[in-house]
């Protein structure tokens, strides 16, 4: 029991420190949080994507994980994200981002920092797959051929 207590104390001390660690390029993990399996790297950005239905939202939501691989800050424009939804019928449509207060603006992601944002989509509730076109996300991520990341909608 004393040993368990000691281990628990060490874990309590170390876990917050691990969470405070700067983002490590290519790790797709920050602190104790792992990026979803749908992930890719573009320029300075490591990007992860997950999709789900959320009881607080009318449409499906997209979780966008971003990790800055570089020492320098990176402009990220989530408002420019283009998302394509595949419906249960097989039809594919481009959908808008739910942003009634026009909050989504270009923002600086600091060097070696990471962030996760949950964005609701103005998409039908029978969406089964969401695909995000990553080129518009950041000029720092636009090198190379156009890249698309798709995630099945959990709970669809």
């Amino acid at each position: 029991m004393p040993r368990l207590r000691l281990l628990a104390s060490i874990a309590l001390l170390v876990m917050p420190l691990a969470a405070c660690a700067p983002y490590r390029a290519g790790s797709f993990q920050t602190g104790l949080t792992r990026f979803p399996e749908q992930r890719t790297s573009r320029g300075c950005l490591d990007i992860g994507l997950a999709a789900a239905y959320d009881s607080e939202a009318e449409g499906p939501v997209l979780d966008v994980y971003l990790g800055n691989r570089c020492d320098e800050s990176v402009w990220v424009d989530l408002s420019a994200l283009q998302v394509n939804a595949q419906l249960s019928t097989g039809e594919r449509i481009f959908v808008g981002l739910y942003d009634p207060r026009a909050e989504l603006q270009p923002a600086l992601l600091g060097g070696r920092e990471s962030v996760m944002e949950r964005i609701e989509l103005e998409a039908p509730t029978d969406s089964v797959v969401l695909c995000a076109y990553l080129d518009a996300l950041s000029a720092a991520a636009s090198a190379g051929p156009e890249q698309v990341l798709c995630a099945e909608v959990a709970g669809a």
């Binding site: 602190g31 949950r118 959990a154």
Partner: protein, 285 residues
């Protein structure tokens, strides 16, 4: 550091020097909304559905979905309350002097004598200068891209034969000094590639403890005297980045309120953001 939308906990923010820590994670972020479960494979992130985020005002959001939060807004990770911070420690060397300092006290030989320095004229038998060595630490935060503010504290010891003064029948000679300094720092940092030019001005208080040898005939006594005086020390120096998080450098300065003062500080600095986020890539605006 993972960040998200929720407003920071103040204590955590002060502790980390980070801009916007969030409720769900000690360093601001973690999964403030949890991850959503499966993607085309399966997400490793946890449960579906948003968790809450809250602000220090006590406002709590039931979700972290952009547009549906009441307490927080998107992009707080971009609006840093504090800029990059850095912590420095350095070994110092240099010279100092007690000439001009007002030192007063009593010394007992066959009887109690009052002394007051400096006397006029001083009788000098050796150059009035101490070799100094010490240690200092400094914490600063950037308030603009190049301007930083902070706090500095230092400790230094000096030894040597100081000036002699004749006070009545007594011959007083300062033998060693101990200096403690506490100051505010204001300065500029200018990045030059992997180098950084710095200029700091330290404004504060310096306390000096002087060990004085008092001689009357063949009787020699040691007494201690304290002097407190304002400190105004401009410094210039240069830092070299040795990793994205560490720089090493040298600074040279002189306390304008103290005669014959020169300090050379060689130290290492830790930075809370790599290279102080001096660069930006992917310009959109």
């Amino acid at each position: 550091m993972m960040r998200s939308l929720a407003t920071p906990s103040l204590a955590l923010l002060l502790l980390l020097g980070a801009s916007t820590p969030v409720l769900a994670s000690p360093c601001g972020g973690g999964s403030s909304s949890g991850s959503s479960g499966g993607s085309s494979g399966s997400s490793s992130g946890g449960s579906s559905g948003g968790s809450s985020s809250s602000s220090s005002s006590g406002c709590t959001d039931a979700t972290s979905i952009i547009g549906r939060t009441e307490c927080s807004r998107f992009g707080t990770w971009d609006r840093q309350l504090f800029g990059p911070m850095r912590w420095s420690m350095a070994f110092t060397g240099g010279t100092s002097s007690v000439s001009g300092m007002h030192l007063a006290g009593e010394v007992t030989h066959d009887q109690v004598h009052d002394y007051h320095l400096p006397t006029a004229p001083n009788v000098r038998n050796t150059p009035e200068r101490f070799g100094m060595g010490g240690f200092e630490i400094e914490g600063t935060a950037f308030v603009t891209d190049k301007l930083h503010l902070g706090l500095h504290t230092g400790f230094a010891l000096g030894a040597g034969d100081g000036a002699s003064s004749q006070v009545g029948e007594l011959t007083l000679r300062s033998k060693s000094v101990v200096q403690l300094s506490t100051a505010g720092v204001i300065g500029l940092s200018i990045p030059l590639g992997s180098w950084q030019v710095r200029s700091d001005t330290l404004i504060g208080l310096r306390s000096t403890n002087v060990s004085i040898e008092s001689q009357q005939g063949s009787c020699i006594q040691q007494v201690m005297a304290w002097n407190n005086q304002l400190m105004l020390e401009p410094r210039v120096g240069i830092d070299k980045w040795i990793s994205p998080w560490l720089s090493a450098g040298i600074m040279v300065g002189s306390d304008l309120m103290q005669a014959d003062d020169l300090t050379i500080a060689i130290g290492i600095t830790g930075h809370t953001t790599p290279r102080d986020n001096a660069g930006v890539v992917g310009l959109l605006r």
